[in-house]
């Protein structure tokens, strides 16, 4: 086998623990009796609520309209009655206005055979509108509205479109299973994006810990009638980050403060591509997603297909509950995900995993002063000096931190993962960015 591609600087090797669920086919989770659907599940402005308590909603009905340039539509994931419109606590600790729906009535699509839409005759513009209308956002966790990402500025040209099946976060296997089970659908989704973006080349990026997925995707890649190839990548976190991925595949660096399109590239997660397929071909809005429910404290780890708005606790119950008391329950991957404090938090469009971690897995330890070991610098894929940034932020010297590249930090967590002093470096970076922004607004 030829040498696997990867990014040259930084990165870490946390234990993958994907074996817990990588062999488990996706199964449908029970439909929740109460679904709590936040109107802010994406980056950008929240959707505007279109319904009132007491109204009936259908499965897949639009309940939140996208507002502003960067925003996304929100649809009801179940049929039922709107009980309340109120603030809902999200897994990330923020609140969002949301709609509480109690299940009632008929399912329109569930279990029914659907006609396939013939999308080939639609224009790129029309396809984009469908994607916007169905509320598609980046499913890898970033939740950036997809129709905005695919609106390419006039002067730019898409040279490379990358289908991101890297799934570099430990534990998660949702994308892996999707590639195995929905291979052709993903290829068709990629063809839709191909029509919209018209890139010169299509790459399908998969980390080398998913050899079976590499194989099936390689076999199916001929379905793309374009120069397309599957790129196996070295197992290293954060291999799946857009910037690191593009460095590995096309050897270009997204300039500081820039976007992938600045170097002629667009990257989308396989989950997003599958959602695009469902939206365009099956006419389905984004009302469910694959969630890997796993971790040492889960009795029977699974990959579940889950309706948006389902309480995280329901999923854990569906997987047999806890086998031992977890110290943390994480929404998303363990490197960038959020530790939740109550199990009622709903699954949103960006919830790629629910991970109940045991004490042994977390490996938390006492914080000590910085040892100047430089490990954080060695592992930072962005070439930053996390220990220096942390000290500057600690001294409220945000200007210096900005000069040292604070805004380039993507909170990947490599630095804090490695730090032997257990300094909460990412926490510092988040705080620093927030404070720097606030300071700038004040003028």
């Amino acid at each position: 086998m030829r040498r696997l591609k990867t990014f040259p600087k930084g990165g870490v090797h946390p234990p993958g623990n994907k074996h817990l669920t990588s062999g488990k086919a996706i199964i449908n989770a029970a439909i929740p009796s109460i679904s709590r659907i936040p109107l802010q599940q994406h980056i950008g402005s929240p959707a505007e609520c279109l319904i009132n308590p007491g109204e009936n909603v259908k499965e897949g009905m639009l309940i939140g309209r996208s507002t502003g340039f960067i925003s996304a539509q929100i649809h009801s994931s179940i049929p039922g009655v709107v009980k309340e419109v109120r603030d809902i606590y999200l897994a990330n600790g923020f609140k969002s206005k949301g709609v509480v729906i109690e299940m009632e009535g008929e399912f329109d699509t569930l279990g029914k055979r659907q006609e396939k839409n013939n999308w080939e005759k639609l224009s790129a513009e029309e396809l984009l509108n469908i994607i916007a209308d169905r509320g598609i956002v980046g499913m890898g966790g970033a939740t950036f509205p997809t129709h905005v990402k695919y609106k390419i500025p006039k002067h730019a040209k898409v040279e490379a479109f990358v289908v991101n099946g890297t799934e570099c976060e430990p534990y998660l296997t949702a994308d892996h299973r999707l590639m195995l089970e929905k291979t052709e659908e993903i290829m068709e989704g990629a063809r839709i994006v191909d029509k919209i973006l018209n890139p010169e080349k299509i790459y399908i990026a998969i980390e080398a810990n998913k050899l079976d997925a590499i194989e099936v995707m390689q076999k199916a890649v001929s379905l793309l009638n374009k120069h397309a190839e599957v790129v196996p990548l070295e197992i290293k976190y954060p291999q799946g980050d857009e910037k690191q991925l593009l460095k590995a595949i096309i050897n270009r660096e997204v300039p500081s403060g820039g976007l992938p399109i600045d170097i002629g590239a667009v990257v989308s997660n396989v989950g997003t591509i599958f959602a695009i397929y469902e939206a365009v071909v099956m006419g389905k809005p984004l009302i469910e997603r694959i969630v890997t429910v796993t971790g040492g404290a889960i009795k029977n780890p699974q990959n579940l297909k889950v309706r948006i708005g389902t309480p995280i606790g329901d999923l854990i119950e569906e997987c047999g509950g806890f086998s031992e008391m977890p110290v943390k329950v994480v929404a998303g991957g363990p490197m960038m995900g959020f530790a939740i404090y109550e199990l009622e938090a709903p699954v949103t469009k960006g919830t790629s995993g629910v991970i109940a971690l045991t004490k042994k897995e977390v490996k938390s330890n006492n914080q000590t002063p910085c040892l100047n070991c430089g490990r954080c610098i060695t592992v930072c894929p962005m070439g930053l000096n996390p220990t220096l940034l942390f000290k500057e932020i600690d001294h409220m010297d945000y200007d210096s931190a900005m000069e040292e590249g604070l805004m380039d930090c993507k909170e990947c967590g490599c630095c804090a993962f490695m730090c032997p002093a257990h300094i909460p470096l990412v926490h510092g970076m988040k705080l620093g960015k927030y404070m720097a922004k606030k300071k700038k607004e004040k003028g």
């Binding site: 600087k9 870490v12 946390p14 234990p15 600790g93 430990p170 460095k247 270009r252 660096e253 300039p255 500081s256 600045d262 170097i263 854990i316 509950g321 008391m325 110290v327 943390k328 329950v329 994480v330 363990p334 995900g337 959020f338 530790a339 939740i340 404090y341 109550e342 199990l343 009622e344 991970i355 971690l357 897995e361 977390v362 490996k363 938390s364 330890n365 006492n366 000590t368 002063p369 040892l371 100047n372 070991c373 430089g374 610098i377 930072c380 070439g383 000096n385 590249g405 380039d408 909170e411 967590g413 804090a416 993962f417 490695m418 032997p420 002093a421 257990h422 990412v426 926490h427 988040k430």
Partner: protein, 369 residues
């Protein structure tokens, strides 16, 4: 299922590498233990008392100061390691109050006046050693004859190899092939073990290859020489080093650049003092004497007092190698490892300032459009 669980809420990442400060410190301690056992075996029970004295003083000092600051840091292993290193850097026969004072100085002055662990800019153990070296130079250069040497009698002292050469070269006008020959010519003793091991290596390995090893190196490598308690056995120190590398607790940059620059300079200029030409220096002799291995792998690599980046570490190591060469060959101290490292410690903030990591997406090297 009970949904009222008591969950820990922290900012990402939610998992962590198994390393911690304490784990690193204690691992280094463990890697040092074999060399210490060897030192005690070689020089007798007095050596053990020296080590105990330095460790206990270090721990007590740390405990008291941390207590005054309402902190508890004794278990993080750092003070223990400092005490251990102080002990290892003592001659075996030194009066017990000297290691105690060195440790107290190391912890109280060098470490805590700057704010404790991580804040000191000089290696505490080395600073402690240098402090007592200049205060009690006589006791600090009083070397016991190790076991295995024919002249070994408990409590009797002799010169260290480097000291012997330094003194002998003072008014030396003839020529000598190198340090080992010089020692031999001066009647410096070798162990019987050295002769038999050297013979064995020659007949079974080197001679068939057309090479041969001169007597004397085996003593140096195994540590059958007078010297500080923990520094003499290059073999056992290197064994610990291998483990530190495997556990990624030390990285290659400082040892490699240190040994490379020092070795290169010794090779080029080291022969001059024996009135030989350039490129005749004895690199191996210089690697295994004067506590170089202990200094290079266990003290120059101290995280707190060495630079952060790869480039910075290379500069630091190279500078320490250069200074060690200068002091050892031209200075008035036979070794110079401690002073060289301390000297380079001073430059760490400066080195850090000028060796920033290369940022992603900023450098022209990135290949961006």
């Amino acid at each position: 299922m009970n949904r009222e669980v008591d969950l820990l809420v922290t900012t990402s990442p939610q998992i962590h590498h198994p390393d911690s400060t304490a784990k690193i410190m204690w691992t280094v301690v463990i890697c040092l233990v074999p060399a210490g056992i060897w030192g005690v075996f070689l020089f007798g029970g007095k050596a053990l008392l020296v080590i105990i004295s330095s460790i206990v003083s270090a721990l007590v000092t740390e405990f008291i100061i941390a207590k005054l600051l309402k902190r508890f840091t004794v278990l993080d292993g750092s003070a223990f390691l400092t005490g251990l290193l102080v002990g290892y850097n003592m001659p075996p026969g030194v009066p017990l109050y000297i290691p105690a004072i060195a440790s107290i100085f190391a912890i109280a002055v060098v470490k805590w006046t700057f704010g404790g662990l991580g804040a000191n800019w000089m290696n505490p153990a080395l600073a402690g050693r240098v402090f007592v070296f200049f205060s009690w130079t006589g006791s600090m250069t009083n070397w016991r004859v190790p076991r295995f040497l024919t002249t070994h009698v408990d409590g009797v002292t002799m010169a260290s190899p480097l000291g012997f050469i330094k003194a002998g070269l003072y008014d030396f006008t003839g020529t000598s092939p190198g340090p080992i020959a010089f020692l031999k010519a001066g009647g410096y003793p070798l162990s019987a073990l050295d002769q038999s091991v050297t013979n064995w290596i020659n007949t079974s390995v080197l001679n068939p290859l057309g090479a041969s090893l001169k007597g004397g190196y085996v003593d140096l490598f195994l540590g059958i020489v007078p010297g500080c308690i923990g520094e003499v056995s290059a073999l056992l120190l290197l064994l610990g080093t291998v483990y530190l590398f495997i556990k990624k607790i030390i990285t290659w940059e400082i040892p490699v650049s240190y040994l490379f620059v020092f070795g290169l300079l010794i090779w080029i200029f080291g022969g001059l003092r024996f009135n030989n030409g350039l490129f005749t220096g004895d690199v191996m002799f210089n690697f295994f004497t004067g506590g170089l291995i202990l200094g290079v792998f266990y003290m120059a690599t101290d995280m707190v007092t060495s630079p952060l980046t790869t480039k910075g570490k290379l500069i630091f190591g190279a500078g320490a190698g250069f200074m060690t060469f200068l002091i050892r060959v031209y200075g008035s101290f036979p070794e110079g490892v401690s002073l060289a490292i301390i000297f380079m410690n001073i430059f760490v903030p400066l080195i850090n300032k000028y060796t920033k990591p290369v940022r992603f997406g900023v450098s022209p090297r990135g290949g961006g459009k």
